[in-house]
Symmetry: C2
Subunit: 264 residues, 2 copies
């Protein structure tokens, strides 16, 4: 009877896929694994190298390699993949996991994925890929780009939010969660919409030792949206921002107007 109960409980343990875009050794990912080990059976499938800014790129013109890893003493199983975050989710589902995971979490990203950054984000592309596959998912990001960022204050919130998502029925629920930086005590959680904004890019022009000109992309984020409903507002005020994400990119509000066009 005891054995039966044990097996039953074990089967009920949620299967959690963990990935990121900063690579399998990133401190943000290691923190996320640590929290997920409390919530379920964890399988990590993460890029073997940094993939920041990869958007929803997938590897279709090149080969992929997969390698089993043992990085720390945790109970999780880990694999590195020579591809993008979206590749990791696809590969995990088709080649590694024996059943569909109950949750996919991505991050904790070293840097913001609020506002328009969601579209450039490798972290969020992994969460969105899971959503497309009908797997509930969350991307977590801290507004601190440094490798030794302090992820400790995020842990309780990650556990709470993940616990809530695991209990939801909507199979393709996707959340974009951002944490303000340098705040030990967050003010709480705000459910938000994506703020309108863009990057004021600049190109730093340099000359190679062989005399060839090349460029580095830099820039600063411009927030065009002061609404209290936005993620930018929440983060500015010290809240953890939670934005539900859709991968239907149709601009439904434009459909009626377009149907009136005469294409002559």
């Amino acid at each position: 009877m005891c054995n039966f109960v044990f097996i039953y409980l074990n089967m009920k343990k949620p299967l959690i896929l963990v990935t990121n875009d900063d690579g399998i050794t990133a401190p943000g990912l290691r923190t996320l694994i640590h929290v997920m080990n409390k919530l379920g059976e964890v399988v990590v499938v993460a890029p073997d190298s940094p993939q920041s800014g990869m958007g929803h790129a997938i590897t279709i013109s090149d080969t992929l390699y997969s390698k089993k890893e043992k990085i720390d003493d945790g109970p999780q199983t880990e694999y590195s993949i020579s591809g993008t975050p979206a590749d990791c989710v696809k590969f995990a589902i088709r080649e590694i996991l024996e059943r569909k995971p109950d949750l996919c979490v991505s991050g904790i990203n070293h840097g913001a994925n609020s506002s328009i950054n969601v579209i450039y984000s490798g972290t969020m592309s992994a969460a969105i890929e899971a959503g497309i596959e009908g797997i509930k998912s969350i991307g977590f990001s801290l507004l601190d780009y440094s490798w030794d960022a302090d992820f400790e204050p995020c842990k309780d919130y990650i556990e709470k939010i993940s616990h809530n998502v695991l209990n939801q029925k909507k199979s393709n629920l996707i959340l974009n969660v951002n944490f303000p930086s340098k705040i030990k005590q967050f003010k709480g959680i705000k459910i938000c919409r994506q703020a309108k904004g863009y990057w004021q890019d600049t190109y730093d022009k340099r000359t190679s030792p062989l005399g060839k000109e090349y460029y580095w992309l830099t820039g600063s984020f411009i927030n065009q949206d002061n609404s209290e409903e936005t993620d930018e507002w929440a983060l500015e005020k010290g809240y953890v921002s939670v934005v539900p994400i859709s991968y239907d990119m149709t601009s439904h509000g434009d459909l009626d107007e377009l149907k009136k066009w005469k294409f002559n």
Copy 2:
């Protein structure tokens, strides 16, 4: 007086940025340039190598190179960039163009960008990047992956649709236009929403000459949506599909439900 009129007319000629994801020599791009030369002053800023499946990737961890090109006898100005389609749009706006373009067109892609493919598409990432910058844009794709695909039937439609978009006021209007393949006479234009669908991926496992296992991503598209309102339906019936695109990825329909959650 004659000189004054000439200068005035010349100033009114729309400035059109042309890019793609198949690379600057792709026949689909060359066809698009040919059509755009009828509509305005054309500047081509396109990747120096194929960038299919790059999603909304941008180059932030590597350098970029730019090279002036002369590929045919057309009046357009051309540059190749060692980056992604989104890089091309950013670089064109910040470093090449002297004023904001009136229109950005991307394609004609060799292959479909209907349904969920919009999210993986380099072609559409360029159009979306232009939209984020407040530039009207259109991504064009033909449902034929071959290099020698027949783009001739698309030309009239591209001219009509671009002409209409140039006359619209909405500065961040983005259209995703797909053409059915192997059809000489399209049935007309359908304004659509993105169909629900996903890729049933498979990984082709092979062994390198040195005995290392590697994988190629392959798969087939699964359409989950039979509605006559969708791009998949329109294309199946022989129509040119036109989907207006939004880069607000907030799932607005989930906001109220999420606000009820107790995060304990």
